[in-house]
């Protein structure tokens, strides 16, 4: 089974899941970690709780909020575990790419590379976009 985990400083992760489900419908096998919200909870143990749910053949694609941030750094320490794939830079277009392709693309490396390149291309300065004049299409 291939699982997704969104992880962030504060509630971005759970917020982004809420937004994704609004657009793509209810998602199964997607987890979130909102770090440092509850002072009782330690990030390290929040992560362990998730990793412990994985079976031997499972895969986990983690999307953390920012490269170099403490949340991402925690996951960096786990990359010796080959079941875990880590992407930094949580954002809605990226996550939508991942959830909509994850059951179609069996090659995880290709899934991640495609999702990254498509979503990078969706960050736009819209003022320039509307200058582009495209031809009207006909039947």
């Amino acid at each position: 089974m291939r699982y997704l985990l969104f992880a962030s400083h504060g509630k971005l992760a759970e917020g982004i899941l809420h937004s994704v489900e609004m657009i793509t419908g209810k998602q199964e096998n997607v987890w979130t970690i909102s770090a440092y919200v509850d002072e009782e909870k330690d990030l390290h143990s929040q992560i362990s709780d998730v990793i412990n749910k994985l079976g031997k053949e499972d895969e986990l694609i983690v999307v953390s909020d920012i490269f170099g941030g403490s949340v991402n750094n925690e996951f960096m320490n786990l990359l010796g575990d080959k079941r875990i794939h880590l992407i930094a830079g949580l954002n809605l277009p990226l996550v939508i790419e991942l959830v909509s392709m994850r059951n179609m693309e069996t090659d995880t490396l290709r899934l991640i590379k495609t999702a990254l390149s498509n979503s990078k291309n969706s960050i736009k300065y819209c003022n320039l976009e509307i200058e582009i004049d495209t031809e009207d299409e006909e039947f």
Binding site: I23, G25, I130, T134
Partner: protein, 157 residues
Amino acid sequence: MIKLLRVDHRLLHGQVAFSWTQTLGADCILIANDDVPVNELRKTTIKLAKPQGVRLVIKNITDSIEALKSGVTDKYKLFIVVESVADAEKIVSAYPEIKQVNLGGVKAREGTRNISKAVNLLPEEEELVKKMIHQGVEVEIRQVPSDKKINAKNVVN
């Protein structure tokens, strides 16, 4: 062939465009609307929302009906999007080959009733929905293809 006619007040946008086109296997989208062809900014925005690899045709309601009747659309797996129930009913009545109508989003206005999630209808719009159902059209409510279909027959008054 007509895959689906969808009512969505936001017309073509983001993932909705993508997921519906993909699920339907559509190769052509028709935006049937009287404002978009003459509203450059709105037209540009819709063109930018077009999924890759499909044709996007934008026509007013009269020209849309004419195109459908003429047969030029027959070779496509066509996905039609309109912004209102009234526009949907005009097209369905003029072109009875359309057998399935999806209500995706109709925003709340003065006097509307929330019949399901994102669908808010005026009493006269409910009448139009019933008229389409009587003509043998399946009218269903779903925002995204993976949602469970709600049959409009069961929720209109």
